[in-house]
């Protein structure tokens, strides 16, 4: 990088390249947003699901679990837990926590009401029906 390639050329390529690729990113985002309704299961975003999402967030579930692969890696994937375990198991499991088994990982007791349990299950059902390009590879998540 000697005399021919100057600092101002490098700077211009930086600004030009950044603007170009950011605009490309915005264009792809625009198209993605148009495609979302085909895959994001938003037709099933009921008030119950929305309430469930809020419970999911305010109990910081993501601090231990992954949801569609994102989150912490301390506890099982929950994006497909609705298929893996079913609604009744999920509710019974949450009510039984913590197990208190010595040396085992513990999940806190969140004291959710029956309505709230139904809401979190509704949220997990909605999540499990998002088109995730066949991820995860199998039911274990």
């Amino acid at each position: 990088m000697s005399g021919i390639f100057t600092k101002s050329m490098a700077r211009n390529i930086f600004y030009g390249g950044t603007v170009f690729f950011f605009l490309l990113f915005l264009a792809l985002t625009f198209d993605t947003n148009k495609e979302f309704p085909k895959r994001d299961n938003s037709q099933n975003l009921t008030p119950e699901v929305i309430a469930g999402k809020k419970i999911w967030e305010t109990r910081n579930c993501i601090g231990c679990h992954t949801l569609i692969g994102e989150g912490a890696y301390f506890a099982p994937e929950l994006g497909n837990v609705y298929q893996r375990r079913g609604p009744d198991f999920i509710k019974a499991w949450m009510q039984a926590q913590p197990t208190g088994a010595p040396g085992r990982r513990q999940m806190p007791q969140f004291h959710l009401t029956d309505t709230e349990l139904d809401q979190i299950v509704a949220f997990l059902k909605y999540t499990s029906e998002i088109d995730t390009a066949k991820w995860p590879p199998n039911i274990e998540g």
Partner: protein, 459 residues
């Protein structure tokens, strides 16, 4: 110190190191909970420890970036800081907000904390890394804007260099993309899509501009190589960063409900993301080899070279390892991700902040460099922490490969928890490597208290 107002950087650096210690302690707690599941339960559940661990990391790196800016910008602009008083006031505001948030995580149940802090008005909490209560998020915006005002005014009244321009671009980008943390749609797919506009466009975008500017600044100072050369390299590196990294966001969009074409866009562009990191390594070594002076601060040179190498390994190599869509299909959300996250954050951002602290702190304390003895301690801490991080990464990678095989590839896939039991050996080894990291950190802190012969600043 050339400008009196650079002194405001000092409390920022001290706070950064203090919070770093806290971050590592909570990391050790989590590492323990991976193998002794009920460790400290119910006092500190894993999710709380993790919030503290990751949020402390973000906050202390922000302290480091701000301190670095306050130190560098007066020297780059050849003028005093616009308002040192504002800088000191913001320091206390940010420290108090950070401390209150962490105490809130530790002592108030998260759902109660959400209720107390207005999450019902605008729900932003409970998303990974963005767990902060609404007032903290607003506080971050206010502090960031006031800080940017201070720094921008300083740059505007003084000399404009490529380094200060790139630093400002990075810092403004940091503030702007953080605004997406206030956008939390009910639609989970959209929530995830724009969540990455904070997380990815920070760490694989604008933060790399900050990283480049800090590294370039220290390299000019310790090597004496011509500014024109170094700034040209800087532009080339950040061009490569953004050209690959912006579309590279797509490697997070493979499985979250976005269109399938992201598997192509994401794979191709993020496969190129190691290139800027490789360029950074070549850059650092090249400049040190062509040095025109022997700077007495050998430790700072070591940190600068280490940043190049470790950022390339952690962000570049370990990122590439699982970035191609057909590979990521199996590794997504496994311990492979954790391995990459640890080495990338340490190699790129922790090390560059420590590079700048290593260079600037002695000068802030009235000497060109620390005594030989203090530098030997600091260099020991460099090797202890860096080697420990290599081991942490290798053990997590081993755990991840096994996990992926047992849980996702095998013909008879195991459940998540059964798999975790199978890989516990590697979690134990990771925990011991974590202890080694902590010892390195203790040595690092001690190095600040080692006396000995020093030379006064000559500039």
């Amino acid at each position: 110190m050339q400008y009196k107002s650079q002194a405001v950087a000092k409390p920022y650096f001290i706070a950064a190191i203090g919070l770093f210690i806290g971050q590592i302690i909570f990391g050790l707690i989590m590492g323990m909970q991976y193998v002794v599941g009920d460790f400290l339960f119910p006092e500190i559940p894993f999710n709380v420890a993790r919030m503290v661990h990751t949020n402390l990391l973000i906050v202390w790196l922000l302290f480091g970036f701000m301190g670095a800016a306050y130190y560098m910008v007066p020297e780059e602009s050849e003028t005093e800081l616009y308002s040192p008083k504002l800088a000191i006031a913001l320091f206390w505001v940010f420290l108090a907000a950070g401390a209150l948030t962490i105490l809130g995580y530790l002592f108030v149940p998260y759902a109660t904390l959400a209720q107390m802090t207005g999450n019902d008005l605008l729900a932003t909490m409970g998303r990974e890394f963005l767990e902060q209560p609404l007032p903290t998020k607003l506080g971050i915006v206010v502090v960031a804007l006031a800080f940017l005002f201070n720094i921008t005014m300083t740059v505007l009244k003084g000399r404009k260099t490529a380094i200060s321009t790139v630093l400002l671009l990075g810092l403004w980008g940091l503030a702007i993309f953080f605004l997406f943390s206030f956008y939390n749609p009910h639609n989970l797919v959209k929530d995830k899509y724009y969540w990455w506009w904070v997380v990815h466009l920070w760490v694989e975008g604008v933060w790399e501009l900050i990283l480049g500017a800090l590294l370039a600044f220290v390299l000019i100072k310790v090597t004496g190589v011509d500014r024109e050369v170094i700034e040209k390299w800087l532009y080339v590196i950040i061009t490569l960063t953004l050209v690959t990294g912006i579309i590279g966001t797509g490697h997070h969009y493979y499985w979250i409900g976005a269109p399938d074409y992201w598997q192509w866009w994401g794979s191709i562009f993020s496969a190129l993301e190691p290139i800027p990191f490789f360029a950074m390594t070549v850059f650092a070594f090249n400049m040190v080899n062509r040095r025109r002076r022997e700077h007495p601060n050998k430790a700072a040179v070591l940190w600068a070279l280490g940043t190049g190498v470790m950022a390339f390994l952690g962000a570049g190599v370990w990122g590439f390892l699982h970035t191609l869509a057909p590979v990521n299909y199996y590794t997504h959300g496994s311990q492979i991700t954790a391995a990459h996250g640890h080495m990338a954050f340490y190699g790129a951002y922790v090390m560059v902040v420590l590079t700048l602290i290593s260079y600037a702190m002695p000068i802030l304390r009235g000497r060109a460099a620390n005594s030989n003895k203090a530098q030997v301690f600091e260099m020991w801490s460099f090797w202890l922490m860096t080697v420990a991080m290599v081991f942490i990464t290798l053990f997590l990678t081993a755990a991840g490969i096994l996990q992926v095989w047992l849980q996702r590839v095998s013909d008879t896939p195991m459940s998540f928890m059964a798999t975790q039991d199978q890989v516990a050996l590697f979690y134990w080894m990771r925990e011991w490597a974590g202890v080694m990291f902590f010892i390195g950190l203790v040595v690092y802190v001690i190095s600040f208290f080692i006396k000995g012969e020093t030379r006064a600043v000559t500039q």
